[in-house]
């Protein structure tokens, strides 16, 4: 199967990746080749086969709801590109300009 350019752009948007035009063209070709190879899976009848998400038996992991010391705020923020008042600083999420 061959991906279209608009499919590549759609995937890049889902993945929040800014791509150059060259990258879009390259990924279109390479991802198409990889998906072609993966088509071998479609030949296998898996209708009665349960999926494996993890090799371990699924179980709940419980612990006591006890207060434990947490990392100091300055350590938490030490790698932050921007911080203010003990918080991570971000660009405005909502546009609050009056219309």
């Amino acid at each position: 199967m061959s991906l279209t350019l608009s499919e590549v752009e759609h995937i890049a948007e889902l993945a929040r990746l800014a791509l150059t035009d060259d990258e879009k063209a390259l990924f279109r070709e390479q991802l198409s080749a990889i998906l072609d190879y993966a088509a071998i899976l479609q030949k296998v009848d898996t209708s009665a086969i349960p999926p494996t998400a993890t090799v371990l038996p699924l179980r709940n992991v419980m612990r006591d709801d006890a207060v434990q010391p947490s990392m100091p705020v300055e350590d938490v923020l030490a790698n932050a590109p921007a911080a203010e008042d003990d918080c991570f600083r971000v660009t405005a999420i909502l546009d609050v300009t009056p219309s």
Binding site: E7, E23, T91
Partner: protein
């Protein structure tokens, strides 16, 4: 030369008082100065931390000697190691081979690192890796490629190529790596060292930066099987901080390999009667004939040591590669969503929050990481989830069932680690699919949740090492190590070292 020592030989000399950890650590730092301009195994060197830890270890050893308790010293006391740069060491830069984490200082240590600290280990530095461990050659590092110590024009394998090359080049006595689809075993094979991938759940993943969470596992790179057993013993065990680590007792792996049968090292009597399966699907057209010949010869040695060797079939082997390259990217696309330029890492401002996300990730990630995030996002997206991701998970069940059926009849599965020896730098970078095909013999183990080890079993005519892979069932590391040890003691491949000229 001190840098040529195995961990167990160095530990004996440290206890006998013939060398100090500071001397040993200085010798390793000198060796790195001499050869790492060519090999380029390290991303970050930690000479001050290492010498501080070494001096501390010397005090511990002196105190134990005075108290007559040398036998109780942890086995890694004073031993200089290298750590793959996807595993956090507190206060030390952890880049994952990516520009997006170029200035990231880890605020806490991985559990495996904490355990190594408790064992008295010394950390020489952080080793190169394909970006976020995605790759098979270490060429996907955002910083520089690492070179194979046996031939500097060739790749060391990957993604733990820095760790494997550092061990092979004598730039550390042992190293930690991580293995999601073969990233410890394949570089071990290419560099002629021993690479052990423990069972999923055997070693805590806390502090291992996530790539594919249902497959990732910390593993070890070492010069011989005894060292692999020592390293695994130091890092294995249940960790409440990793809900996928498993509470299974940690055996004494060293005693396990030393007490084989007669109890005499080197006689290999411990694998008499061991049932070894050779999967016919792992000897394929297109593999390098010298690899097949060396692995078949190794299997004959194992048979001569008394193991019962038989051919087996793993019928869904051809599904492993497409299954892996859908599941691992899908998990990666979710895990790498955290790199948003807000809490840590590169941050490229945009006009809006969304724009900032796109630019940060577009500039911060390299090609292979973007490719896998895209592939994963596609496989998980509306309209394609059932055809790709769910289908891959169902086919994963078939692969797992193949191994479960095989392991009812055999104890160990023997096969090549990789279809070829190390290829040349740049040879496969333009063709991702051909790069992925090099992982064809290692992926299935991760998908099935088993353990495995790669160890040297010969060299091709170009002088490049060949790896024998021995796989065993979940939490059967003792069995894999016993088979590997018996083979190793009957052969001399593990004693060869690459010839590297000092050029500082």
């Amino acid at each position: 030369m001190l840098h040529d020592l195995t961990i167990h030989a160095a530990a004996d000399l440290l206890r006998a008082g013939e060398i100090s950890s500071v001397q040993l650590t200085e010798a390793l730092i000198d060796r790195i100065t001499d050869v790492d301009n060519d090999v380029k195994a390290y991303l970050t060197l930690l000479p001050e931390l290492a010498l501080e830890q070494a001096a501390e270890s010397d005090k511990t050893i002196a105190a134990a000697r005075a108290a007559g308790s040398l036998a109780a010293l942890p086995p890694l006391t004073g031993i200089p190691l290298a750590i793959k740069d996807v595993i956090t060491v507190e206060g030390v830069r952890t880049t994952c081979g990516s520009k997006i984490l170029e200035n990231y200082i880890a605020p806490y240590p991985a559990t495996a690192i904490g355990k190594l600290v408790d064992s008295g280990a010394v950390f020489l530095g952080k080793t190169n890796t394909d970006e976020f461990a995605m790759g098979s050659s270490t060429e996907n590092s955002a910083y520089f490629p690492t070179h194979n110590p046996w031939d500097l024009s060739r790749v060391p394998g990957g993604s733990s190529g820095g760790s494997a090359a550092a061990v092979a080049a004598g730039e550390c006595l042992g190293a930690l790596g991580s293995d999601t689809g073969g990233s410890v075993r394949q570089p071990a094979s290419y560099c002629g060292v021993v690479g052990l991938k423990p069972t999923y759940g055997r070693v805590s993943r806390y502090g291992l930066v996530a790539f594919a969470s249902s497959l990732d596992q910390i593993g070890t790179l070492a010069k011989d099987v005894t060292d692999a057993a020592l390293l695994l013993g130091a890092i294995a065990g249940y960790d409440p901080r990793d809900s996928t680590s498993v509470s299974v007792p940690v055996p004494d792996y060293l005693a396990g390999i030393r007490d084989q049968g007669s109890g005499v090292r080197g006689q290999g009597s411990g694998i008499r009667g061991l049932r070894v399966g050779v999967p016919k699907e792992y000897f394929i057209p297109g593999m390098q004939p010298e690899v097949e010949a060396a692995v078949r010869a190794a299997i004959r040695v194992i048979a001569d040591l008394g193991a019962e060797v038989r051919e087996i079939s793993l019928p869904h082997t051809d599904l492993a590669l497409p299954v892996y390259y859908l599941i691992a990217p899908a998990e990666a696309s979710a895990n790498l969503a955290r790199y948003d330029g807000i809490r840590y890492g590169l941050s490229v401002p945009g006009e809006t929050l969304w724009d900032g996300y796109r630019r940060t990730r577009g500039e911060g990630f390299g090609s292979e990481v973007k490719r896998r995030i895209m592939l994963g996002a596609y496989a998980l997206s509306a309209g394609y989830y059932d055809a790709y991701y769910l289908k891959a998970q169902q086919a994963r069940t078939l692969i797992k069932q193949d191994f479960e059926a095989a392991l009812r009849d055999v104890d160990v599965i023997a096969c090549p680690t990789a279809p070829t020896t190390a290829f040349r730098i740049g040879e496969k970078t333009d063709d991702p699919l051909s790069m992925y095909l090099g992982d064809v013999f290692t992926l299935s183990l991760n998908l099935a949740g088993m353990c495995g080890i790669s160890l040297p079993c010969g060299f091709d005519t170009a002088g490049m090492p060949i790896g024998l892979q021995l796989m065993a069932g979940a939490f059967q590391e003792e069995t894999a190590l016993a088979a590997a040890f018996a083979y190793e003691q009957a052969t001399e491949w593990h004693l060869r070292r690459p010839k590297l000229e000092a050029r500082s």
